[in-house]
């Protein structure tokens, strides 16, 4: 039951996201670009941090990356 509810919730979120994309993409392309672009910028910055951690973990005293 919980899995079903979770599935329904995620499905609803997907429908809302699609409606948002269709409506705002058509009526306000720059608003849509802002929403997509902001998410992308956040993800790139987060990926940079994760990459930093990976570089730290791969580091050896000899300086090899």
């Amino acid at each position: 039951m919980i899995i079903l509810l979770r599935f329904a919730g995620l499905g609803l979120a997907l429908v809302v996201a699609l409606l948002f994309a269709v409506f705002v993409g058509d009526q306000g392309p720059w608003y849509f670009a802002w929403a997509v672009g902001t998410v992308m910028i956040i993800l790139v910055a987060a990926a940079g941090a994760v990459l930093f951690d990976a570089q730290v973990e791969q580091y050896t005293p000899e300086g090899e990356f």
Partner: protein, 531 residues
């Protein structure tokens, strides 16, 4: 008809500019830092590493200082519309009031409520729950800016409204027309991502300070990496949307774009140079010492190689028939107000698109009354009104250039910062780190120049082509305006001093107040930032 004392109009303008510019020292950081906090906390939730929580806490504390003082400086401006710009509020209140009310009720309360949860909910909410709150704070602060910029865009491009001759006010027609105004869209994204740039530089600069002093190096190197990547993408977005805004100005506000480019005469495509530097002289209507790059202006503004851009002198000439038509519209409207004759209403409707130009001519009409203009005086009034359609070219030209030069500098700086951070070569470039540190205030300065470009370029109108600025102010006395101006200057300067004191104090204290990372960190790991 008595016009408002020009000194009162100038003081009202100066006071609004001063309070807006003060307020805008806080806004960009709030807009950007909230999403940076969200990015840091996202990494914390995904990886579970404590250092990212500490980053969110430390930068969140600096955000909190900025937020509190920013709110205090923003409140007064909404009241200024009523106190200092009552004629404007009466004329345009239906239009302007709606987005302002939504800003106050929805975004402001949403933002403030979730800020409280963000600061005090760390131990009371689940990790994903707190992350959702941080995203809502970011969304709320940016939505707050959205409604302000929707309101501002309606002054530049009054979509979704019409002038009602019965009430003598602009009447709201379409909410969708107001919200999806192309100027609002482009201006919101341009301003929002300019805030991202300011926040990136802020985090990067303070992180550079720690790296220079070899303090909190793991913390600083991670913060620097995230800020550099956040900044480079944001700078590209700012430049892209700047181009969109320039294109919109070219289509809808030709006087603004001509002033921005210092274009006195219609351009000659495709050779027309983009003027890098010059000394525009408003009185003589010419520029001296021009340095330009040929073949750049036409594609830059028109996105073509053969479309001319109308110069300011030609725009003045083109305004003459609109001024004559506007005088007819205003005269018909005055008669309709008195007698309610259908013929006057019909005449007004035929010329209503030019009404603003008739109002602009009021200053030069006998007794400031356009209905009193005799036929033999008409040409003289038109000639005197023509130069009034132009903004201050020197201010618009240079504020735009300073913004653009700074934007280009940010692009280079963030590109280098991203490269050096990804290659782990930050600490060996101490000069570059110093440059990052000293660049902290520059994005805020760039947004101030951008704001001056937008607002000075819209002159002589408060509502573009509809309502002249000299008819928009309240009928205060000069002494009242001087007193309130002095009060705001002192009060806001104190706010800035408090902000700077607290920022310097907590930045110097560093993240150790939360967790002493470096004391327990593996020294081998630390050297990742030194290579």
């Amino acid at each position: 008809m008595d016009l408002i004392n020009p000194a009162v109009v100038d003081l009202s303008r100066f006071q609004f500019a001063l309070t807006a510019l003060y307020h805008f020292m806080f806004v960009p950081l709030t807009l950007g830092l909230t999403f940076m906090l969200a990015a840091m906390e996202t990494v914390y939730v995904v990886t579970g590493k404590q250092i990212y929580k500490d980053m969110a806490l430390f930068w969140g504390k600096l955000f909190g200082i900025n937020f509190a003082l920013g709110v205090a400086t923003g409140l007064t401006m909404e009241f200024e519309f009523g106190t200092n710009w009552s004629m404007y509020s009466r004329f345009f209140g239906d239009m302007f009031g709606t987005p302002l009310a939504i800003e106050g009720l929805m975004a402001f309360f949403m933002e403030s409520t979730f800020v409280g949860l963000m600061f005090f909910g760390w131990d009371r909410l689940s990790k994903p729950g707190h992350l959702a709150i941080t995203y809502l704070v970011a969304l709320g602060s940016n939505l707050s800016a959205l409604w302000i910029l929707v309101a501002n865009a309606s002054m530049n491009m009054p979509n979704g409204a019409h002038f009602d001759p019965e009430t003598l006010r602009m009447t709201f027609d379409s909410f969708v027309g107001v919200v999806f105004n192309p100027d609002a869209q482009a201006k919101f994204v341009h301003t929002s991502v300019a805030g991202y740039v300011a926040a990136s530089m802020f985090v990067m600069g303070i992180s550079a300070f720690y790296l220079l002093r070899k303090q909190h190096r793991e913390f600083a190197a991670r913060s620097f990496r995230m800020a550099a990547l956040f900044g480079i993408f944001s700078t590209v977005a700012v430049i892209t949307l700047g181009d969109v805004l320039g294109r919109l100005d070219y289509e809808h506000q030709p006087t603004k774009i001509a002033a921005i480019e210092g274009l006195w005469h219609t351009s000659k495509p495709p050779y027309e140079p983009w003027i890098v530097a010059a000394l525009p002289n408003d009185a003589k209507q010419e520029s001296s010492y021009e340095i330009g790059v040929p073949f750049v202006l036409t594609p830059l503004i028109t996105h073509s190689f053969d479309t001319p851009i109308t110069g300011m002198i030609e725009l003045e000439e083109a305004a003459a028939p609109r001024i004559a038509s506007g005088i007819t519209a205003v005269s018909a409207l005055r008669r309709y107000e008195e007698n309610h004759q259908a013929a006057d209403l019909e005449l007004f409707r035929a010329h209503q698109d030019d009404m603003g130009f008739g109002l602009l001519a009021t200053r030069h009409a006998p007794n400031q009354d356009v209905t009193a203009i005799e036929p033999e005086q008409l040409q003289n009034v038109i000639e005197q009104t023509k130069p009034d359609i132009l903004p201050n070219v020197f201010v618009t030209f240079w504020s735009f250039r300073l913004m653009v030069f700074l934007g280009m500098f940010f692009f280079v700086l963030f590109a280098m910062a991203s490269y050096l951070s990804l290659k782990n070569q930050l600490e060996r470039n101490r000069l570059f780190l110093k440059l990052c540190m000293w660049s902290i205030p520059l994005p805020v300065l760039a947004t101030e120049f951008g704001w001056i470009t937008a607002e000075a370029g819209r002159q002589p109108w408060t509502v573009f082509d509809r309502l002249p600025t000299f008819m928009s102010a309240s009928t205060h006395g000069v002494s009242y305006m001087l007193f309130s101006l002095a009060g705001f200057t002192v009060l806001y300067s104190i706010f800035i001093a408090v902000e700077l004191y607290l920022m310097f104090k907590f930045a110097r204290l560093g993240p150790e107040a939360h967790a002493p990372h470096d004391d327990h960190a593996d020294p081998a790991h630390l050297s990742v930032v030194a290579h």
